[in-house]
Symmetry: C2
Subunit: 370 residues, 2 copies
């Protein structure tokens, strides 16, 4: 097959990774050139042997270019996408697609009007760790999953330059959050009933350096999504509970545990010493009550993102990453960010103001034990 002739706009971290690592292995795509506004990035692309367009006009006027990849800072996605679609190009856009739903809707209406394809590179739907969780959710090896905890923890703070700035769409909700929400909302085929969020501003940036979001779905599933950039010890990437077991994936290496309840009548668990007390509740289940399963293999296969993009453009196939799904994730993100720093304080269960008296009492009297 002849790959789609694609030009890349933005040869920064993601753009160059895209070109040098992903696209080189894709027969569905033929990279025909690069455009970047920065001289050093142009030079870097030229050094790799890529043709560099002198400006955006040249790129868009080039009839050999069928599609563009937009891999620029987040706040520039909308204008570039609209311009490229109007110039007759199909568009692949890096995530997060735009800074808000209104921007996305503008793109989508231009895509509809022009008949050109617009797809967002939500590549982490292909992550092996996520696909294992998806397998557990669909095949129910440990029963119906009713609690899904998805975390990424790092200790390096927010990377790079524009990712620290609000106007460019920085912050972790838009950076890693969009991946984790996209995975989850793609997986769970039920509307969101409730959302609680707490953003973190430890590093003193104007954007969030992490967050915790708790979602409740109409079907009863709970999800905890957490991103941290000030974590020097990591909690597991995934922790999920099913009606007949629990699974944990520690890290990107897919190490972890899948424990299933056998359903065999278990002996009363033996109490264990826990701190200064005994506990039966928190004792390990008796031996016959559980069994360890091997981590499921993912047998289901589907085309790569770019293979699918090719099939959508050339054959009218259905996109794997659908724009209405992207829009739904962005609605959630917009709602979380609009609450900002005060989200959880202003909107939580109860302010407990009536407890202020008790708290005052506590402050005055809780110093005895030192």
């Amino acid at each position: 097959m002849t790959g789609i002739k694609l030009a890349v706009i933005g040869y920064g971290g993601m753009g160059s990774y895209h070109v040098e690592t992903i696209l080189k292995n894709e027969t569905a795509i033929e990279v025909v050139g690069i455009y970047d506004i920065l001289t050093d990035r142009k030079e870097a692309a030229a050094e790799k042997g890529w043709y560099c367009f002198s400006d955006l006009e040249e790129l868009l006027a080039d009839e050999a270019v069928e599609a563009v990849l937009i891999a620029t800072p987040n706040d520039s996605h909308k204008d570039l996408a609209v311009t490229a679609l109007r110039a007759g190009k199909h568009v692949v856009c890096e995530k997060p697609v735009t800074l808000n739903v209104a921007e996305l809707d503008e793109i989508l209406s231009v895509a509809e009007e022009t008949g050109n394809i617009f797809m967002v590179h939500q590549n982490r739907r292909w992550d092996p760790d996520f696909l294992i969780i998806r397998e557990l959710y669909k095949k129910q090896q440990i029963g119906e999953l009713f609690q899904i905890e998805s975390r990424v923890h790092g200790g390096n703070g927010i990377p790079g330059d524009w990712r620290h700035l609000k106007k460019h769409g920085g912050g972790m909700v838009l950076d890693w959050g969009v991946h984790l929400f996209d995975q989850l909302l793609w997986l769970i085929d039920s509307p969101i009933k409730a959302c609680y969020s707490d953003l973190s501003y430890i590093l003193g940036d104007e954007v969030d350096d992490g967050f915790m979001v708790h979602l409740i779905f109409e079907n009863g599933v709970r999800a905890l999504i957490e991103v941290g950039t000030t974590n020097y010890v990591n909690l597991p990437r995934w922790y999920v509970k099913g009606t007949a077991g629990t699974a944990k994936i520690e890290d990107w290496d897919l190490s972890g545990e899948v424990i299933r309840a056998t359903g065999k009548e278990q002996q009363t668990p033996k109490p264990i010493q826990a701190g200064v007390g005994l506990t039966k509740t928190m004792a390990p289940p008796s031996k016959e009550a559980t069994e360890a399963l091997t981590m499921p293999e993912v047998l289901e296969t589907f085309p790569s993102f770019y293979q699918n993009f090719y099939e959508v453009v050339r054959q009218g196939a259905e996109p794997i990453v659908k724009n209405e799904e992207v829009r739904y994730v962005l609605e959630l993100i917009e709602s979380i960010l609009s609450k900002g720093e005060q989200s959880s304080v202003d909107n939580c269960q109860e302010k407990l103001l009536r407890d202020i008296d008790a708290a005052e009492m506590k402050r005055e009297t809780s110093k005895a034990l030192v």
Copy 2:
């Protein structure tokens, strides 16, 4: 010294553990007899050589009895405590002290009126794992702690009989929750600003079989408290983040990690492969950026619960477990339980009702990839 002569009311799981394990080692206490309404529990106590009171009246009329320990189902604490205080006894009460604040206030007013001592056995303030976290919080080996996650996970469901029933004060918020909240609110000397909670009803009991509670304190500290009884794989008992590091205590054995940021200028972390993408943000910090500390030892010592009880009764010392602290915890619990099953749904950030349309769209179109 001559120990306080104490009679035990309730020789069930906690009562018998109390008598046979804790009190035998306490020179501050001399157990003088047992009272239980159940014949088989009376016989069990008698077999161990304890004097068994034939009824409560006999116990309360016995002038040799200075104090009672109440270790009965939770809904009976209030009446027993009030009766014992009025009969001139000091009272130690098992946790949770009562089912609600009104009951506790009734007890406290009788204690004040009679001048007798009333103390609640919040014994987990003495748990070594908790005392390590307290040490980290006070001594700031990894900076100021701003995020504290406290979890207990078990896979045995709710134990016993009455703990399944609402009218007896069953459920995990009142069982393990009261310990975890007590530890936390004792530790953090700042009023609660906000509370979000989600109770779990997986086992089909009328009471909660676990919960997740997120607290925000006036001083900015966040706490996540979680209890689960359907967890076949456990997350760490403690996970805490400080401004200069992270610590984790895995289990009751106190294994874990304490990692401190050195503050040395670190090299840009090397991106790692994470799923199908690369990440610098979630890459391990460069080697010189962090160092492992040994788990802190707890050097601060304070009297045991019963030694303190002795000193309070005999010497007018200040109680370590103060009734206003117990009341504050109970206020929090009452607020969480009053929201019940619907807590998080009715009271969360946003219902996202405007997303229903998008969700409908999603349901109709998200089946392509199978």
